[in-house]
Symmetry: C2
Subunit: 243 residues, 2 copies
């Protein structure tokens, strides 16, 4: 739909369950469905192309919603759109586009909710994908999280092109954490195929992880209790012992 | 309301705007409003007392919703409830209570959405409150985030009883980050009094921060561009330079 002036909203769908879709996000999508909406499909892997197309349309005066699963602000389309806009520089049609971000529930916090409160205390969030960053910085960040005894959520743990890095990251994790440290594996959380597994670090089977898995590594204080229903409950308490 | 078997839901309200309240959370609260609902008010500072009261009621067979602003899984009531339940141990009435967590939008991600994508890449989340943990572990975690060049979100930056620690944390931050590093201050984001300020580290005025402020500290790659509307846009890009 063409307005007096275009805008671009990057809209978070959350994990997939409509129960976990914010009213503002639902409305942003519905607005675009009213009158003259056009869908421009694209492959998830070509995020900058999607961003460029969206900025072009908004610069022409269209009202554009870029749909992103989870929270668009966490390893997702909000950064891709702003990267394209910032790279174009100030004297450009793209610079005049008002980019707004509508948040959503990101996978780590959806997985955490299902598992109890594994991120109830200080934590760190790292993507293991080295498509856009060197492996050395990923390793440095995982090590920092371990040395500072932070709980750690890992996105994009593995892909066909990166089959061995998750094992390398876990070698590092095992140097700093006891074998009893709780690990939460969340796959398709908030979707019909949802799987949440809680397992001690010493028993974790990394071969079950893929790009749709989020991994939460406990800190030294993270505890597990068998819950009433199937999955055990995991807690990183707010209290930290005096050293 | 008394069911055949009690349960306890810890429900996230998000930042306050009903547009940012998940349908599951809204329904959880409405369920409790239907028939025989009783409100048990309590002070936010006595979280363990609230948790104990809620577990007592659920153990008696009531359906209990513990309301928590933001995401209950992040520095909030999910951890408090599980701490109380875990501490009571297995052969107790509390152990039989099924505790479920309904997530919400946490303050750091609400603030990030308003500012663009400052947490669009790897980041760390730390509470500066040393009510329940020693200051030494807080300092260690802030330093780790700086050394690993992570963006950093700070909760509970200051209180009447802790007037100087934010300045101490920023002394540490200034040792590792350039004066041009973007700082985002979000206060009451998602409420009518919302304020989002973007300022370079060299110019930040910490005296405007209080317990309702969330602070996001950029990494070395975080950029700022003047947006179309008032507040500048902040981006931590997904791309990291090869070292």
């Amino acid at each position: 739909m063409i307005g007096a002036r275009g805008w671009l909203r990057v809209v978070g769908l959350g994990p997939g369950d409509p129960d976990w879709l914010l009213p503002e996000a639902r409305r942003s999508i519905q607005d675009d469905l009213i009158g003259g909406q056009a869908r421009h499909g694209s492959d998830n892997r070509v995020e900058l192309d999607r961003a460029a197309k969206a900025l072009d349309l908004a610069a022409e005066g269209h009202r554009v919603a870029v749909i992103s699963s989870g929270d668009p602000g966490v390893f997702a389309m909000a950064a891709a759109v702003l990267e394209a806009q910032f790279a174009a520089g100030a004297p450009s049609a793209w610079a005049a586009v008002d980019v707004q971000v509508v948040p959503g529930v990101t996978a780590a916090l959806a997985t955490a909710a299902r598992a109890g409160a594994p991120l109830g205390h200080d934590f760190c969030v790292v993507s293991l994908s080295d498509n856009l960053k060197p492996w050395s910085i990923i390793e440095r960040r995982v090590r920092a999280a371990m040395e500072a005894d932070l709980a750690l959520a890992l996105y994009n743990p593995v892909s066909r092109h990166r089959p061995t890095q998750l094992a390398t990251a876990f070698d590092l994790i095992r140097q700093h954490r006891a074998p009893t440290t709780p690990i939460v594996l969340g796959r398709d959380v908030g979707r019909p195929a949802e799987q949440v597994t809680v397992v001690p670090l010493g028993d974790v089977d990394l071969s079950v992880c893929d790009m749709r898995t989020v991994i939460i590594v406990g800190s030294s204080t993270t505890e597990v209790h068998q819950g009433v229903t199937g999955t055990p409950k995991v807690l990183t308490p707010r209290t930290y012992p005096d050293s």
